[in-house]
């Protein structure tokens, strides 16, 4: 990715965007000049007035572009820890600038929501597998040895770990929630990448030109407002969230709110147990042994602390929704709102309420 504050992006800006801006401005000045001369030559007051009005609008557009570029440079210069120190907040690792912090928050949210997905999936897998564990309890048992099966097949079959429908129902809901959270975080990353890749910059020359074309003022204003909002407001609000990452995405505790580290929820449990002894043990040593294979921090056996944490897994998925859906959505809604607000500053009313329905 051409980083917005890096030299590659500088080259893209000076080689592509700046020439386009100059072409747009030159064409516009030429057009306004011709219109003014034509108006003066034909004594057409309407045409002269139009030229003068558009000349003022051209200045407004140019000043706007200058302001955007200046603010962007400022955003590149401001380090997030400088803002943190003003508000007496703990310093962030890496001390990124505003644009990198915005990207950093969304990456954090993606990691966090993926971790939530992993924990929920682990529980769901374990409950499903354990539910289908069957046992045949031979009659006349001494401990786990049933003498009733010595000469035939006498006893009771049952699913000793079958009672997980409550947990499975709860986990299914939050599995969906965690998937949505993860997909939304990726979606927001793509929106930011769209901005960072520079395509929004092409709105600027087009906007400057269109704002002075007859009947196209609203369209031009919309393009400039979109550029301002997505280049300044959206990254800034996400950078603000980056400063709250210690709570929002539990950045200080390995992106998990649970006491068991993420490595404890390795979903390849069954793969690990396919070979040899574990499989035989699972078949013969009973349900408690099987349960420990999935939910003991020490693995298969009869002892060890439990890492089964149903409320914790639900809470993790809920937190992921807050971090990856709720807060980035607020940032996007504010950005969309500011498009309308900034367009109004340029004297045009743009109704974007339909777009907000998409969020």
């Amino acid at each position: 990715m051409a980083y917005l504050c890096g030299p590659e992006f500088g080259a893209f800006f000076s080689d592509s965007v700046l020439p386009l801006l100059v072409y747009a401005a030159s064409a516009l000045i030429g057009l306004i000049g011709i219109a003014y001369m034509a108006g003066t030559a034909t004594s057409n007051a309407k045409l002269t007035l139009w030229s003068k009005t558009e000349a003022v609008q051209f200045v407004v557009s140019t000043v706007s572009v200058f302001l955007i570029i200046t603010t962007m440079n400022t955003f590149c210069a401001i380090k997030i820890n400088e803002i943190a120190s003003i508000f007496d907040m703990p310093a962030a690792a890496g001390d990124p600038d505003i644009y990198a912090a915005a990207n950093g928050y969304l990456l954090d949210a993606a990691i966090y929501s993926h971790n939530a997905l992993t924990v929920v999936r682990y529980h769901l897998e374990a409950y499903t597998t354990l539910s289908f564990f069957n046992a045949f309890m031979c009659d006349l048992a001494t401990g786990r040895i049933g003498w009733g099966c010595l000469f035939g097949y006498s006893g009771e079959s049952q699913q000793p770990l079958g009672g997980y429908s409550v947990q499975t129902a709860a986990m299914n809901i939050f599995f969906n929630g965690a998937i949505i959270a993860h997909f939304m975080s990726l979606n927001f990353i793509f929106i930011l990448l769209f901005v960072y890749k520079g395509f929004v910059f092409l709105f600027l020359p087009l906007g400057v030109f269109m704002r002075s074309m007859p009947y196209m003022r609203s369209f031009g204003s919309l393009l400039v407002a979109l550029a301002i909002s997505f280049l300044l407001i959206y990254p800034f609000l996400l950078a603000v969230m980056y400063l709250m990452r210690s709570v929002l995405v539990d950045a200080d505790t390995g992106y998990t709110p649970l006491p068991v580290p993420m490595s404890g929820y390795d979903e390849r449990r069954y793969d690990d147990m396919v070979n040899g002894g574990d499989m035989i043990a699972m078949s013969t040593l009973g349900e408690e042994y099987v349960w420990h294979c999935y939910f003991s921090v020490d693995g298969c056996g009869w002892s060890g602390d439990s890492k089964e944490n149903l409320p914790g897994a639900i809470g993790f998925a809920s937190n992921a929704f807050v971090a990856a859906v709720f807060f980035p959505s607020v940032a996007l809604l504010a950005t969309i709102a500011s498009v309308g607000y900034i367009a109004r500053l340029y004297g045009d009313e743009i109704d974007l309420s339909r777009i907000t329905q998409l969020v």
Partner: protein, 327 residues
């Protein structure tokens, strides 16, 4: 009347400035400094538009400052209310809300454990089958099929309880954010951003988010608790018959099946278990639906409505109806 006067007094006279109030004051001072610089620039270069902009923005700042003064008073008053009516050991709205969430969460997870236990027992009993064969001859009987009827309602209960736990954890996280960032960080940042025309929308949103998180979210939970407490223990009554079933302890569900018995006993036991579950329903209802579901929904709706109203007050309305749909 005295209480109303005391409340008004608290609203108008901000007492005891804490950390966030100082930061907000510093933010306002910073904004004044920035506007002063713009005004001086306008004066120095003879640009009257800049001077006018600075003046116009100064009025906006006065509005913001008044909002903050009102907020300081309002916050003190609401803290006083939460201390009196909410959890007795809480000094602030957030502490009271956190205590309320923790209590409800303990109750909900306790009930969830009880439902899980019943589910486990029903599933084990329902899966039982008896076999006997000697020298290739024998029989196999499954007399516990009636217990499978309990799986569907228990599964639904799991879904509802899961929702309740999820909502409580969401509330807990939002209250954590409110305590750590709403007033010490988001509010002052919002004040500074609101000073400039281009960032007024973002500034207004941050101010609105800070106020909604700090005040409306916890107050929604606390008010719901107050309503619930009044329903459970109506003033002037010792043993209210209406609320009694909602405060009871759930009865234990007795589930036992003999897989070899094809008579009516197993079916009767399963139906008996179903009836006990039905009796227990009202015990679960209050905690699950009123405390753990209605409370968070009310709080979130208050927050999202407040967000929209406050952004509008702050000068740039943000359509947060999309957020309300998350609820």
């Amino acid at each position: 009347m005295k209480a109303a006067t005391a409340l008004l007094f608290l609203m108008m006279v901000p007492l005891a400035f804490a950390a966030w109030q100082t930061t907000a004051a510093v933010a306002i001072a910073t904004s004044i400094g920035l506007l002063g610089a713009i005004y001086i620039l306008g004066m120095g270069f003879g640009i009257s538009e800049l001077q006018m902009t600075a003046k116009e923005e100064f009025f906006q700042l006065i509005a913001a400052a008044l909002m903050i003064v009102f907020l300081v008073g309002g916050d003190s008053a609401l803290n006083a209310i939460s201390t009196n009516f909410g959890d007795s050991g809480s000094a602030t709205l957030q502490e009271a809300a956190r205590a309320s969430i923790d209590t409800t969460l303990t109750g909900v997870t306790g009930l969830m454990t009880s439902i899980e236990g019943t589910d486990k027992a029903a599933a084990i009993e329902g899966s039982k089958a008896s076999s006997c064969s000697i020298l290739g001859m024998g029989y196999s009987v499954s007399g516990c099929g009636s217990y499978t009827m309990l799986a569907t309602p228990l599964s639904m209960a799991g879904g509802i309880t899961g929702f309740a736990v999820g909502e409580l954890y969401t509330m807990k996280r939002l209250i954590q954010l409110s305590e750590g960032f709403a007033f010490p960080f988001l509010l002052p940042l919002g004040i500074v951003l609101r000073t400039f025309k281009f960032t007024r929308g973002a500034g207004g949103l941050l101010i609105a988010l800070a106020i909604s998180l700090h005040i409306l979210l916890p107050i929604g939970l606390i008010f719901n608790d107050m309503l619930g407490a009044t329903f459970l223990d109506p003033p002037g009554t010792d043993n209210d018959a209406l609320s009694a079933p909602y405060k009871a302890v759930p009865q234990s569900v007795s589930l036992s099946c003999n897989p070899g018995d094809t008579g009516p006993d197993n079916e009767n036991n399963a139906v008996g278990g179903y009836h006990t579950l039905r009796t227990n329903l009202r015990v679960y209802l209050f905690t699950m639906l009123i405390q753990a579901t209605l409370g968070p929904v009310l709080a979130l709706l208050m927050m999202s409505t407040g967000l929209r109203t406050l952004t509008s007050l702050a000068g740039a309305e943000v359509d947060v109806s999309a957020i309300s749909r998350f609820v």
